[in-house]
């Protein structure tokens, strides 16, 4: 049992509680409030002068499944090859690939994410294909893969715009154009629809593992998460969702604020970012001000680093800069906690300091949106997973 006392509680779901207490038991939050009785057996952590907030949730990254040049990982990002011999789709459509198998729960970058307060991530395939596979939702800390992974599969990842065009265009394959991308996306869903109808009519129809994830999308059991930066690519995604009736989120959404009304009227959430880099042509109009514009338009928006595009530890920085550029304080804090959790579908477990949720709790030395504030302690399911003093590197310790 654990009691974090005297902190300024940023509960996210409710108002800020000054001098509040969070009580944790068996990995869950069991009480949140002012003047709570401290159970006798609880370990007490004094957070006087500190801010206490829920663990940060990253709705879009590639940690643990991405080869960063050291040859340790599978480079699942844009893995080649559909199911051998299945032949349902071309090489740009591989919904059957599962990030789960590529995920290394001991990857160094998870440790760095954790130290920055990021406790839950949706990690997933890359954007070099129209439909690239299925991502997972996992904690960044835990005893084993089994303990860490919260949802598998968590989505079907799709991508439009420059990346698939460049990836296949350079090999003289399709899609080499945005026309090709649109056609391939539509073709995949038409085939999945017809397969679904066939299976419903005749249960003896052999299972096709390439089709199954798309059937889940059509049935609303999995969400499509579509990488789209430019307004025209976003519209292509929205057209597909309109035609096939699936649920989706816009990933990156760099120009969603330019067509905010189209997004709002369909009630589509945006996973916005990373706004800190913009080296591609399709990302020229990226702007930290977009978050506030989408928020004011009534669109559900969370903020992403797309780590490792932007290093994961910069998520809180990106959110602070979105706040500087016009997003409300409440909206900005939600955009890295509760809203992210809602968009990826794990708000019943993480994203706020509420009774019954996982005890993923951060202690910071200042307001979460201040650039100068530092994460000092990170609890994951009630376990002290990172401590700025305890976890110093050898070169930081005196006398070494």
């Amino acid at each position: 049992m654990l009691a974090i006392i005297n902190g300024t509680l940023v509960t996210v779901s409710g108002p800020i509680i000054p001098n509040g207490t969070v009580i944790v038991d068996q990995g869950k939050i069991v009480a949140v409030g002012k003047n709570l009785p401290i159970p006798a057996k609880a370990e007490v952590v004094d957070a006087t002068g500190k801010f206490v907030m829920p663990g940060i949730v990253e709705a879009h990254c590639h940690l643990g499944v991405m080869d960063f040049g050291v040859g340790e990982e599978d480079n699942h990002m844009d893995a080649d090859g559909a199911l051998a011999g299945a032949g349902s789709f071309g090489p740009a459509v591989t919904p059957e690939l599962m990030s789960y198998y590529a995920f290394n729960p001991r990857h160094i970058q998870l440790k760095q994410a954790l130290a920055a307060g990021v406790t839950t991530i949706l990690t997933r395939p890359g954007s070099g294909k129209i439909i690239s596979g299925m991502g997972i939702i996992t904690k960044t800390y835990g005893k084993s893969r089994k303990d860490m992974v919260m949802m598998n599969p968590a989505e079907v990842k799709m991508a439009l715009g420059e990346n698939p065009k460049r990836n296949f265009g350079s090999k003289k394959q399709s899609p080499s154009t945005r026309m090709g991308s649109g056609a391939i996306l539509r073709d995949a869903f038409l085939k999945a629809k017809s397969y679904m109808a066939k299976r419903e009519k005749d249960p003896e129809t052999p299972i096709n593992y390439q089709m199954e994830p798309l059937v889940k999308v059509l049935k609303g059991e999995l969400k499509a998460r579509i990488h789209a930066h430019r307004a025209d690519d976003i519209m292509m995604a929205l057209r597909a969702a309109d035609e096939f009736g699936f649920q989706m989120s816009i990933e990156h959404a760099s120009e969603a604020h330019i067509i905010a009304e189209e997004v709002r009227k369909r009630n589509i959430p945006c996973v916005l970012g990373p706004s800190m880099t913009r080296t591609k042509v399709e990302t020229t109009r990226k702007d930290f001000a977009a978050a506030g514009i989408l928020e004011k338009a009534g669109i559900k928006v969370c903020i992403t680093t797309d780590a490792g595009v932007v290093p994961q530890e910069y998520l809180r920085t990106c959110v602070a800069l979105s706040h500087r550029a016009g997003m409300s304080e409440d909206g900005a804090i939600r955009a890295m906690t509760l809203t992210s959790a809602e968009i990826i579908g794990v708000e019943n477990r993480v994203g706020s300091l509420d009774v019954g949720k996982d005890a993923d709790v951060l202690i910071l030395d200042g307001h979460p949106l201040e650039l100068l504030s530092q994460v000092e302690k990170v609890y994951v399911s009630g376990v002290l997973a990172f401590d700025i003093e305890r976890d110093k590197e050898p070169w930081e310790k005196e006398g070494v």
């Binding site: 040049g69 160094i108 970058q109 760095q112 913009r278 020229t284 500087r324 650039l371």
Partner: protein, 397 residues
Amino acid sequence: MLRIVEAMLVKGGCFVKAIVNGTLYTVAQGIIENGTILIQDGKIVALGANLPIPEEAEIIFAEGAHIYPGLIDADCKVGIFEEGQGPIGDDTNESGSIGSELRAFDATWWEDVAFEDCRRAGITALSIGPGSNNVINGQSFVTKTAPGVLDHQVIRAFAGLKINICGTRGNQGDRTIDIALLQGQLQKAKELMAKNAKLIEKGETPEENPKLDPLVALLKGENFARITVYANHDILNALELAKTWGFPLVLERCYEGHLVVDDIVASGCKVIAGPTFVNRYGAAKNLSLKMPGVLAKAGVAVALCSDHPTLPSENLSTQAALACRDGLPEELALRAITLTAAEILGVADRIGSLEVGKDADLAIFSEPIFKTASQCLATMVNGTLIWQAEEEGECQC
């Protein structure tokens, strides 16, 4: 927050601007509350509290504003890597491994949108350089960020020779090859230097050699090497090369500087650190965001940079704020993007601090610069506003 009252009458040739009632972060001489800056002919002519304001002055009322020397990005690729243009706008890396004769200002397009982004962020000077795909990549330069033809903005045309000895040149990368190639060039430069000395002694014209002359400048101590170093042994290699050949050295990136602090301190070299905005893999796997603080606290001169487009240059002050959060004292964090940067780049006689006699390059913010709420209100180069935030009903200019 800013209210500008233009002078009704400009008296013959004596055009004075006064910025009044701001908090002045001079960097060189502490903080002045309710300070005034007087500007004439593009230079700071006076600053302090309670200064008399000349009658004919144009006045910028800056109550509540925080005024800094214009920020300096000590290493970036603004304009040489043009945004939104794709490969055709990328002029950073020439072919061939030895490019001492290449000059970054030949390839810098001054209408790249990133210049405007710099102006919006209070950045008034940039050191722009080539990429680092070669052993010798070319010559960096220092420029102001005011709009207009680049030639009129450049304040130091050759501000360090960009060298990379980390063995990271595509498929041919190998530290041993890189260092052998570099030492071969230094040997040739040394021979040319001796030859020219004899020619001059005889009253003859010395030989010009565009490929070797920049290296001769290094060996004579007239210019400096900016060596990209990632791993701790890259740093040690650079320190040894500088000692052996006797050239002034500035370490760039320096991702593992915190692992070899004592060696860096002993060498006396300076560091343009980071950006720490990179993923930790390969040679950067031991990068720590604490590195700038560790080095600066040990007494090393540390400037920060964006390496734009790695980190877009407009995030320079954020990079400094994060270095501060992770251990770089606030005063040194500000210095790292102003005066220390100017000193390392060899332009501190003109920019980097609010001091009498320096160029009137200023950045005016609504709050202390490292606060999240801090907005850039206006940016000035040589006494001229080059950018100003739009404020409804407030601007009377």
